[in-house]
Structures are given as structure tokens and as C-alpha cells.
């Protein structure tokens, strides 16, 4: 009994020693990573011949078509980016809430997933210059929250709002509606299910999702605000400290924007429904 207890305590002590020992690592690690970053990720991608892209499905940024291939605005951007680099593209679908850790641990080379720049995210990753802008909108239930047109009408403890965890919608809802009760779900589809089940008053999400939902369920849902209440820059995210790679991406955005290709594709995916029959 005594030795058993002793070994248990010892293993716990060692476990903690290890965990807190890690806090003294950074100084040593910094030299390691700076040595690594001398070789740009760009060279690694070119040698490998494959660009690994991390993303999560958001309509119409990235979705699955009927034959199971990915289509959408981001997918086109990623394909074009890889083509301009002269390499193949490999898509690595990743849960949104874990997408930054997956990038940091090298599961892929870049996040092309409609990611907007936030200062908090920027502390962990580098962002390219924005290649697109997106706005947040609110979609509300007609039964529970009929006739509301102002943010203040949603900002009370009696209102429940559902958002997707880890998105800027989650942060923005906290800022704009600090008094409302907020439910955090892992998937966009779950927030919509909650709204359709009439268990939450509203969902905050980036457009065009609220717009499409209002069209799809006209007798159940409505858009309380005429205009988007944010304008957020969308950028590529890469690991920190690789300025060759970042420079290449920035100039890619600059060139592709000047030819009008990015705007053209954005129009196609966001303001037309020509692609609707391709998806499931």
C-alpha cells in the first residue's frame, strides 16, 4: 500500500515537473525556430511539389459538390495560387476551432479559409494583405424576435444568440451584444438548427449565409438589419517569421487583384446562384 501510494505521488509530481518545466523552454526554442526559418516554407513547398491548404467548409467559401470534390471561392483561390506557384494542391479539411493549432504544428502550409484578421490571431500567425472583405449579419427567428430592427433590441438578457465557436462572429457578438445570452456551437449547421427549432432568437454569421437563409426560409426567418454591421479583411494565414513566403503571397494578391480575377470570382460565388445545382 505504502509503495503504491509513493509511486502514485511521485508520478504526479514528475508530471507537474514536466509541465511546468516546459515554461522554461521558450529561450531555447527560439534559437531553434529561427534556425529553421532560414529555409523558407516556400522552398519546402516547391521541392515537395504540393501546396497543403487548411480550410473548413463554409458556404460559399468552400463546400462539397455532388461527386464529393471541394468547390467554392476559397477552393478556386487555392487552386489558382498553387497553379501560379507551379505545384499541385492538397486540401486538408480541418475543424475551424482547431485550424490555427493545426497550422502551427505543420499539418499544412497555409490557411485559405475565409479567415479574417484579428489581433488575437495575429499574435500566433502571420497574415498576408487582404484579398477579400466580409461582413457580419444577423438572422433572426420571426416567431421569437419579430419586428426587431436595432441592435439594442437584441442586447438584453432575455435574448439568446447562437454562434459558431472560434469565428469572428463569436467575438463580435460578445462586443455588440454583451447582455445577450450566447450559445457556442462547433458547426454552423448546429446554430441554424437551433434557430429553426426556435430555441434561440438569432444567429450571427458572416454573409452571405444569413442572406441565403432568409431566402430559403422566408416564413420562419428574417434579416433584422439592412446592412452588414462589420467589414472584415480576409487574408491568408501562415506560420510566423517567414517573410519570403509572406512577400510572395502579398504580391500574388496585389497582382491577382489588379487583373480583376479575384473580384470576378467573388462576384460569381457570392452574388450569383449559378453554382447551386453543383452542390448536394
Amino acid at each position: 500500500m505504502k509503495t503504491h501510494r509513493f509511486t502514485t505521488i511521485l508520478s504526479i509530481v514528475l508530471l507537474f515537473a514536466f509541465i511546468f518545466g516546459c515554461s522554461q523552454q521558450p529561450s531555447q526554442q527560439k534559437t531553434d525556430t529561427s534556425a529553421q526559418s532560414q529555409v523558407s516554407q516556400l522552398d519546402t513547398i516547391l521541392k515537395r511539389g504540393v501546396l497543403k491548404v487548411g480550410f473548413d467548409t463554409f458556404k460559399p467559401w468552400a463546400m462539397k459538390d455532388k461527386s464529393g470534390n471541394y468547390i467554392g471561392f476559397e477552393i478556386e483561390v487555392a487552386k489558382r495560387l498553387a497553379a501560379d506557384m507551379g505545384v499541385d494542391v492538397e486540401f486538408v479539411p480541418t475543424k475551424w476551432s482547431g485550424i490555427i493549432p493545426a497550422l502551427l504544428t505543420g499539418k499544412f502550409d497555409i490557411i485559405i479559409g475565409g479567415m479574417s484578421i484579428t489581433p488575437q490571431r495575429n499574435l500566433k500567425v502571420n497574415f498576408s494583405i487582404p484579398y477579400e472583405y466580409t461582413g457580419m449579419s444577423v438572422i433572426a427567428s420571426k416567431k421569437l424576435a419579430a419586428g426587431r430592427t436595432m441592435a439594442s433590441e437584441f442586447n438584453n438578457p432575455a435574448t439568446t444568440v447562437a454562434v459558431r465557436l472560434g469565428t469572428t462572429a463569436a467575438e463580435i457578438t460578445k462586443n455588440f451584444l454583451p447582455q445577450a445570452k450566447i450559445l457556442f456551437f462547433d458547426e454552423e449547421s448546429q446554430t441554424i438548427q437551433e434557430l429553426l427549432n426556435e430555441r434561440v432568437h438569432a444567429v450571427v454569421a458572416s454573409n452571405p449565409l444569413p442572406l441565403n437563409l432568409a431566402k430559403e426560409y422566408p416564413d420562419k426567418l428574417y434579416l433584422p438589419f439592412k446592412e452588414d454591421f462589420t467589414r472584415e479583411p480576409i487574408s491568408f494565414a501562415i506560420r510566423k517569421g517567414d517573410f519570403d513566403y509572406l512577400n510572395w503571397l502579398n504580391n500574388w494578391v496585389l497582382v491577382t487583384m489588379s487583373t480583376g480575377w479575384l473580384q470576378n470570382r467573388y462576384e460569381y460565388w457570392f452574388y450569383t446562384n449559378d453554382w447551386e445545382n453543383q452542390i448536394q
Binding site: 500500500m1 514528475l14 511546468f20 516546459c22 526554442q29 488575437q120 500566433k124 447562437a162 437551433e194
Partner: protein, 270 residues
Amino acid sequence: MPDTQRPSTVRLPISAIVDTGKYLAVMGCIIWLLTLGTDRLGYNWQWYRIPKYLWQFNEHGFSWGPLIEGLGITFQITGISMILMLGIGITTALLRMTDSWAAKGTARVYMEIIRNTPLLIQIFFIYFVLAPILDMSAFWAAVIALSLFEGAYASEIFRAGIISIDKGQWEAAQSLGMAPFPMYRHIILPQAIRRVLPPMTSQAVSLVKDSALVSTIAILDLTQQGRMIDAETFLTFEIWFTIAAIYLAVTLALSGVVKILEQRSNSVKP
């Protein structure tokens, strides 16, 4: 105290020292591998940002952080689920041992469905499909999903315990002319419960760990609080290691309490 009964505490055990040495060597090896792994990862560890999520001192004085508040919700959910789990478990076990075909069938169908489908899908089904019809809150949907899931396993543990009681005990009870209820109440269950205590502990530990899944239906339990902090700060590994340590502490404490109960019930053995 049981410790005083052991002769090995009196003299110095050489084999114990050798054993401890081996143990330390193995542990050292594992820790060395882990540090090697974390070095390769190139991850920027920021443990100093963690304590404020556990507790805070500010102008209002001391307050618990979101992780400990989440732990409170986890305790509520697992506490209620544990009681329901035992109730459901023993009811199902007894139903399966009756002669009634209908009772046996119902218990069997319940058990097979629950044991052969993933808990996550059961939680989603109860929350998104059943709860709106019954006007149930997320909290109760979680409690019901968890207790139904763990109850199916608990019922098999109870059944094993009841079956293991010696045939002579049943015959003795029947020869005294006891009805089924007092027979179970006074003879069978007191013996069976003592036998099922160890497997039931591991079931309770599973319940605590499985409760992490209810975070998917937006309940602010320990895991969900961790997910939210992670989403805001990207302190991924620090947060998840901390949460794992909290779960470890809770389940070890639970096992410890049951061990004390077991020793007490053994000491009153006839």
C-alpha cells in the same frame, strides 16, 4: 489501519529500492521523449497565462476563473447523471432477470441500442430532435443522454453482480418463504453491491470523462470553457493539458473515495 498489518514496512526492502529505480528509469524515458517532441514542435509555450483562467484576484476580491466555474457545471451534470445511472442500471438489470417477456425485451432493446451507437450521436439526437418536442433545456438533455448511456453499461455490471451470488443464498431465502422484494433487499443486493463496487467505479470515472462530450451542445462545462478560451487565445496545448489535469484530479479523487468505502465495507465483513 491496514498498513500496520504489512510486515514489509518493518524491515528495509532492497527489492523495493531496485523497483523504484526501474520505475524512475521508465518515467525518465517517457519524459525525455515528451520534451524531445515539444522541442521539435516549435510551439511557443505560455504557461504564465493559464492561472487567471483558474482563479483571479481583482478589486472585487477573489473569484473563480471560467475553468473552475465550468468544473462546477461538470459536477452538477455528472452528479445527477450518476444517481440516474445507478437507478436506470439496477432497474434494467432487474427487468432482465424477471420472467416477463415484455420486461426482458424492453430492457434488451434499450441496452442494445444504447451500447451499439456513439454517445455523441445520442446527445445530438436527444438535444436537437427530442428536446424541442419535450421543451427540455440543454442541461437536462445532457443529463438524460449521459445517464441513459452509462446506465446501459451499469445494468450489465449489476446483472453480473447479482448472478454471481451463490445459489445457496437464493435457496436459503426461498426456503424461509421470502418474497422477491425482501429477498433482493436484505440478502442478494447487499452482497452484490459489494462485488460490483470496483467495476462501478470505473463506470463512474467513464461518466466524468464522457461528460466532456456535452460541450458540443453549448453547455458551459469544463471542456466548453476550455474550447472557448482556446478559440480566443490559441493557448491550445496549455489549456488542454490543464483541463486534462483537472479531469485526472477529479477521477483520482473519485476512485480514492470509493476505495475508502470499499475498505470500510470489507472491515465489517462477517
